[in-house]
Structure formats: C-alpha cells, structure tokens
C-alpha cells in the first residue's frame, strides 16, 4: 500500500534493485576483502607454497588472518607445526563469533556446517551491524558467500601471478607481507590497552627471535597475549 502513496519512491527504488542495507553492506565488504585475496595468493607462493596449497588454505581454512599467519611462519623458516599452531590460535576468535551467530541466526542441520565455515570477521561484523533478524540473516549470507567466492577467485589470481613473478624479494613481496600484517593489526589498535599489548607482544617476539627456533617466538607472544586477556582487568 505504501508503494502507492507519495512517500514511496525511495522504498520502491530499494525494492526494484532488490538490495537491502544489509545486502549492500555485505557486497561492499565482500568486494573489498575479496580483492586482497590477490596479496594472500602472491605472498603464499612467495613463502614457498604451491598454487594448490594456497588454494587449499583459502577453501578449507578460509579465515584471512590465520592464512596470513600460516604463510608468515613458513616464510620466516618456521616449522610446519609452528605454522599450524599460529594459524589455529589466530582462529580462536571465530569460535566467539560462532556463539554470537548461533544465538542470532540459530541455523539447523547442514546450514549449520555451511554457516560455520563462512563465520569470519567480515560476516560476523555485517550480521552484528543489523538490528532486524531477517536483515541479520541476509547480511550474514551476502558477506559470507560473497567473501568466500571473491577471496578464492583472487587467491588463485594472486598465486598464479606470484608464480609468474619469480624472485619475490625483487618485487618487494617481503615488504608487502610486513604491510599486510600491520594492516590486519591496525583496526584493532583502538585505545591504550591494545596498543600496549601490541608493543609487549612485539618486544617478546624480538627478544625471542635470536634464541628460539623460527616460529616459536610467535607462539610465545600468543601465550603472553592469552595471559594478558585471562588476567587483564575487565573494562
């Protein structure tokens, strides 16, 4: 009925294009995130992974921070088990998102498995930004499926490109990895406490590098971070 009244145009426009705010947000996040799959693919190959291994990480692991952590440890000469450890610890936050998504969206059966695999920073953030249940659902699926498709497509493009580039250092890909990690960390440095924690973790890492096996300094910093969170003050 409203569509026929005078104040309808904006709403009718939304109807016509079929895009609700949650869908629009999910799509823009999917494009922005998917694009930097290029950097993951290229850096994975530069770290010594094959194109197939880079794709396996994007398809199966599918959580950007952990994927970058995995190749970051491998690039630094760390053992395979240190790479698994660092990637797995960085994925712990997805379990917390899972609890929130389960509470809001309550998936059943096979949808639950699919939803779990698509539970990442971007889909959780899109869902949590919406108030209405139907919009939360649309936001989750748009961001989750959108990021999955684009992230994997661009990982493949980046890995093939990285393979063709050859010598990674000549193209500054080691610098790209540094920038990528700082870029992942940056949005989380809001307020004094995370900055202090980041500096402490950085110092622990630098102090441990000369005497610990490659990859181990990252796990020590993770242990320090977990202890900080466990015993830290609630604010």
């Amino acid at each position: 009925m409203d569509e026929l009244s005078g104040k309808a145009p904006a709403r009718a426009g939304v109807r016509l294009s079929g895009l609700t705010p949650a869908v629009r947000m999910g799509l823009s996040i999917a494009v922005a995130t998917g694009l930097y799959g290029v950097s993951f693919g290229a850096l994975a190959v530069a770290a010594g992974l094959t194109v197939g291994q880079a794709m396996a990480l994007s398809l199966l692991m599918f959580t950007g921070g952990s994927q970058f952590a995995f190749i970051g440890v491998v690039a630094g000469g760390g053992s395979a088990s240190a790479a698994v450890g660092a990637a797995s610890l960085l994925g712990v936050r997805n379990a917390v998102y899972g609890v929130q998504m389960n509470h809001l969206l309550a998936p059943r059966g096979w949808r639950r498995l699919l939803m779990a695999q698509l539970t990442i920073d971007e889909s959780a953030a899109t869902t949590l930004s919406q108030q209405e249940a139907a919009e939360q659902r649309r936001g989750f699926w748009t961001a989750g499926v959108g990021v999955f498709v684009l992230w994997n497509a661009f990982t493949l493009a980046g890995a093939v490109l990285g393979d063709a580039l050859g010598d990674a250092r000549r193209w500054g890909l080691d610098g790209a990895a540094v920038a990528a990690f700082l870029g992942l960390l940056w949005p989380r440095l809001k307020g004094r406490e995370p900055v202090a924690l980041a500096l402490a973790a950085g110092l622990v890492t630098a102090a441990a590098i000369p005497w610990a096996a490659p990859g181990v300094p990252i796990l020590l910093a993770a242990a320090a971070g977990a202890a900080w969170g466990w015993w830290g003050h609630a604010r």
């Binding site: 990480l57 995995f70 997805n94 379990a95 995370p194 890492t205 977990a226």
Partner: protein
C-alpha cells in the same frame, strides 16, 4: 610433517574451531573473560607476526628494506588508505629501497 599435511591439518582445525562456536554451550565462550582472551590473542599474534616479518632473518634480527615497508605502511594506514593500497605501498617501499641501496 610435510607442508601439505600442515595445510590440511590447519584447515581442519580452523573449521573445527568455527564449529565449536555453534556446538559448545554458549556460556563457555560467551563470557567477558573469553572475549578478552580471544581479542588479546588476536592483537598479540598480529603484532608478533608484524615484528617477525620485519626484523627476522632466520634466527637473527636484521634491519633491511623491510623496515621501509613498515614505515610506509604505518603512514598509509594512518592516512586511512584501504588495505590493498597499503600492501602495494609496502611492496613498493621495500623494492625501491633494495634497488637504491
């Protein structure tokens, strides 16, 4: 452990972690302490990875072109550049420094 084993194992652990959020009783994870641990773990790991990728050369600390990438990336992030641009600028910075020095 070969690299392929590590890729598959880490992938399965990541999926199991996500599923755990849907499967375990909410009160195990949905409390302020677990939120703090997950948040602190993420910040500590990303900071550690940044430092390692900037300064580590095997088991030695080493200053080279990567430091320029760190500085340029920080400036770009401070200026609110999008992620992909930050990564490209980081690559450019270290490639240029290596070319000049």
């Amino acid at each position: 452990m070969t690299l392929w084993h590590a890729v598959i194992a880490a992938g399965l652990i990541a999926l199991a972690t996500k599923l755990a959020g849907y499967a375990v009783p909410a009160r195990w994870l949905q409390n302020p302490r677990m939120h703090r641990v997950a948040g602190a773990l993420t910040v500590a790991l990303l900071a550690s990875l940044t430092v390692m990728n900037t300064f580590a050369e095997g088991t030695a600390l080493h200053l080279d072109a990567r430091l320029a990438a760190l500085g340029v990336a920080a400036l770009a992030l401070w200026a609110r550049a999008p992620f992909l641009l930050v990564v490209v600028l980081g690559a450019l910075a270290s490639a240029l420094v290596r070319w000049w020095v």
